[in-house]
Symmetry: C2
Subunit: 327 residues, 2 copies
DNA sequence: ACACTTTGCGTAAACGTTTACAATGCCTAC
DNA sequence: GTAGGCATTGTAAACGTTTACGCAAAGTGT
């Protein structure tokens, strides 16, 4: 079988306790000559720690798990990037799991996989948990924070203030002179979707502008749903501006507009929400509500390890509006 | 502390062995009345398996690890997607780890993290391992296969035939009438980079066309490196076509060309390698050598569990050329 | 020379499972 | 009535670590 601490101990002529101490680097507990012997044995035998055994006895690991809906969520990568960097500094290992989108069974499977081992914490990026999955997580007493999403204000989360995003994006367009503004391809029943719609409506209201149900279209943040939303707008409305719920949605709208001979930005102004690198590689480059995904990841990681009582449950990360060529 | 199998046993009035058997679903080994008792106790106590203990005693887990260079590698997501789907069917859990790019220390750290637990297999997507990291992996006797990359033909890998990609992309452009063709932003010293360059040169040679060192530019598959490659071409060459080593590179070239008032495809034809969704959302839409990333992931997973002796070490996945607006 | 402290190391228990083996009771066949 | 078989359950060892505890040797201060 594989090399264990016992083999090392025998080879170095010390006890397993000593080997363990050298491994753990408890410097005050062994002499430098034993250290040499042990390290030599470790090298010669090619010894590898058995993490399962370690975790069993210590009841603790230095792993944090990051759950992401699907590999397609492109902004999530930016968040993961910052989590990874932060974790490296804290000497934590990060593992990422994709939980299927909209599938309670898959969510539960992924959650169980994570809960059944002693992970240090769980970060859920943009995943909306369903019924039983929520309870599973809540009852696990593993610290967890939601990132760029939330189920309610009781659980810990960090995200942008999506009400404000809806509001500011709308306000931005209103102040450019638009009066009929679409809001495209968000999930109306999700926490985030509701917030954004509220913000959007609040802005219209503050400026005494009417609104229409036809202006808000449901969707799933995808390129395709943006593309087809544009068809809907063309046929059913006379909006002059539209907010895409994600970069891809906005790009889908723009490309559909092109196909319909609608000029962006002259006949239709488009603002996207997210501001990933995509907005800069398409043409026209897309004006965006740019979220600080990097900060979001950092903050989430800190929140995970913060004293539970010291911090508030949730945290909003500032965003900004970057004007580009689509408005 | 947390609920263990002992608590369940006590609560259900059976031995821990019985609980374990019910948990494992060894149907022939217990009566349905005990099953009921045990399951009830499990539910009431909210018992969760301790994976560390299980893995310790069984010396085996149903986890496969996927290593990816950085969260930025956008085609990797497609591969991961298929791996995930395949793994779900096989009832395996997938964990993803990002190993830093070009950093031996990080690679070793990530590898150790994985090797030290009983993972079933390791898939390395597009990661080029450095010196010690290679040995670490080879000595671990954990089955592993490289995906969309390789270190040599001795280790198992699945990828496109990058020589052929270089050859076919070049041939495609030659047959469209181009004689001076650039190859942009690949890492000349990587396995893949060398293969593509060879294929490219072979095609030029087969058609009795000259080549120039100025036509091949080193880079890192990024948008930026494509962008700056274009400046180089404009200043130092008179090429009429260029192959971008990735979609982002090609898009960078196209956008830089736009800025330099070079019309694509009329003055410069551009072909990208990869063919992810990006080629369809920019304009002009990019002609691409489209790799079958989905198949690649599937195949890699199968190879991981195939009988070691039955299959050849490596496997090439077919690709195709999709002509779009950039040529 | 003595008592006390420090340094370095070993012994053994514990972590939560799985599983080989043994034990029990019951059933069937003679 | 006895032997053998089967179904169901329990006992205990094992997996590879960490760490509390204890002990010996060496050092220190008087």
């Amino acid at each position: 079988m594989s090399v264990t601490i016992k083999d090392v101990a025998k080879n170095a002529n010390v006890s397993i306790a000593t080997v363990s101490r050298v491994l753990a680097g408890k410097k005050e507990a062994y002499s430098s000559s034993t250290e040499r012997k042990v390290k030599k044995a470790i090298r010669e035998l090619g010894y590898k720690k058995n993490t399962a055994a370690v975790e069993l006895v210590t009841m603790h690991s230095n792993v944090i798990a990051v759950l992401v809906p699907t590999p397609k969520t492109n902004f999530a990568m930016k968040i993961i990037d910052s989590i990874q960097k932060g974790a490296d500094m804290k000497n934590l290992n990060v593992i990422i799991l994709f939980v299927g989108d909209n599938d309670e069974k898959m969510q539960i499977k992924a959650l169980n996989n994570v809960i059944e081992r002693p992970v240090n914490g769980i970060l859920l990026i943009s995943v909306e948990l369903f019924g039983d999955a929520v309870n599973l997580l809540k009852n696990s007493d593993i610290p967890h924070v939601f990132v760029s999403t939330a189920i309610d204000k009781e659980s810990q989360f960090v995200s942008s203030d999506d009400f404000k995003i809806g509001y500011e994006a709308t306000k931005f367009l209103i102040e450019k002179g638009h009066k009929k503004i679409g809001l495209s391809s968000l999930e109306k029943n999700s926490f985030i979707g509701r917030q954004r719609v509220s913000g959007y409506l609040a802005a219209l209201n503050d400026y005494h502008l009417p609104h229409s149900n036809d202006w808000i279209v449901e969707g799933d943040y995808s390129y395709e749903s943006g593309f087809s939303a544009m068809q809907h707008y063309k046929e059913n409305t006379d909006i002059t501006a539209v907010i895409g719920a994600s970069d891809l949605v906005a790009i889908g709208i723009i490309n559909a507009a092109k196909q319909l001979n609608i000029n962006v930005p002259n006949q239709l102004a488009v603002v996207s929400i997210d501001g990933t690198y995509l907005v800069d590689i398409v043409s026209p480059r897309v004006t965006s509500v740019t979220q600080s995904f990097f900060t979001m990841g950092e903050t989430a990681l800190n929140m995970l390890f913060a004293d539970e009582n010291a911090v508030s449950n949730y945290m909003y990360i500032p965003f900004k509006i970057d004007e580009r060529e689509s408005t």
